[in-house]
Symmetry: C2
Subunit: 234 residues, 2 copies
């Protein structure tokens, strides 16, 4: 009721109008918990994520989703109000989850550099574990308009803020001078670009990738990587 914003036109129940449909509970939408309805919606969102990932939001059609889920076109709309809401739910869930995970991983970790490392590790790990959702999140950045767009942008600003704070802690601790804004945005660029090139066959796992990117970002290529052992490939 609060989150979704029902689009139903009128229907005061007394006049025999149909009751408002597709009112999602405010629940979490992960696969396990929630009402059966929420669990079913979560499954639909998984399929939608994969389709948006493959064809882009505009390029994907509700008929694609119907085919993928095995449900009828009309049946889908029992679970959400519009295609746009689908994208909103996906982006919101993805963003919320990565931020929760970050807060957990940051808790208890001391030392500004290590905390930045944790941020990088978390972002890279989540990115690789949820490539489809993360591409939909970053690629369809400007797609949502109005209220839904504003909500997603608000979460994004929060996430940016967390990283900027980590960076400024690092500056205070080391006395170094650089533009925090530019550092954060460069870091985001490095990581968020992954979806355009990552190949699990040739590029390592999340841990390796995060360490390498952390090294590039924190030490710079000209200080090189402390030649630990196998950096392998090229």
């Amino acid at each position: 009721m609060s989150l979704v914003g029902v689009t139903a036109r009128s229907s005061p129940a007394s006049l025999g109008g149909r009751r408002p449909r597709h009112v999602t509970s405010g629940r979490d939408l992960t696969d396990d918990r929630g009402t059966p309805r929420d669990r079913r919606l979560a499954k639909v969102l998984e399929h939608a994520t994969r389709i948006f990932w493959e064809k882009g939001y505009e390029g994907a059609s509700m008929r694609d989703l119907s085919r993928a889920t095995g449900m009828s076109l009309a049946g889908l709309y029992y679970y959400f109000a519009s295609k746009e809401e689908l994208l909103y739910l996906i982006q919101k869930h993805t963003f919320t989850t990565i931020m929760e995970q970050l807060r957990e991983r940051l808790a208890g970790v001391e030392g500004p550099e290590e905390r930045v490392r944790v941020f990088i590790r978390n972002h890279v790990a989540y990115f690789l574990a949820n490539q489809e959702a993360m591409k939909v999140l970053t690629h369809e950045d400007e797609t949502l308009k109005n209220v839904r767009g504003a909500q997603i942008r608000a979460i994004k600003r929060q996430y940016y803020r967390i990283c900027l704070d980590l960076m400024e802690d690092l500056q205070r601790a080391t006395g170094l001078q650089f533009s925090g804004r530019l550092a954060v945005l460069s870091l985001f660029g490095m990581i968020n670009w992954i979806y355009t090139w990552h190949n699990p066959r040739v590029d390592g796992d999340a841990e390796t990738l995060a360490r390498q990117m952390g090294d590039i970002f924190l030490r710079g290529v000209l200080r090189g990587v402390k030649a630990k052992t196998a950096k392998a490939k090229s």
Copy 2:
């Protein structure tokens, strides 16, 4: 004839079929040179670039382009065969131009680090001077299919190769060990991400940005930036 691939269905001229339309000459498409027709096409491409930039390729309609150019829907098709070809021409021209410019700027520059710096400067400068085209190039990366897609991907591979070579020269010169592939792709990520955040009001001009990003990439934030003078902002 060679580039564009006419889609005309048959029409052997003798049977009264219409001659093949929209056969672009192989010319350069920049505004100044070429036949009047090519110049007119270039203008259309400029409008198309702005529209794809605003609404994305799938989200943009030929009617949007018709409105923007002031030409009729049918009239547009005198200059190109399809919407897809529009995107192809834009991407090809953009990619070709940035590579030409890079080769010019690299010529005569010695020293592996400076050559990497030139690469960064060129990419950032071109990016900011042609933000719309560069977004269309990077954002619509997977949009083109088949032959046209393969051609663009081939140019992209060339561009990547040039940068990788620069990076490997740097490695040979310094004896440092890092993954060249990862370094190049991280660098691309840093720079190509610019279009999602750049604000000319708060972020500096191309030269400043390129220097800062070069510093982050080459020296790493932990070695700081040689506090030259005004880094200002944050």
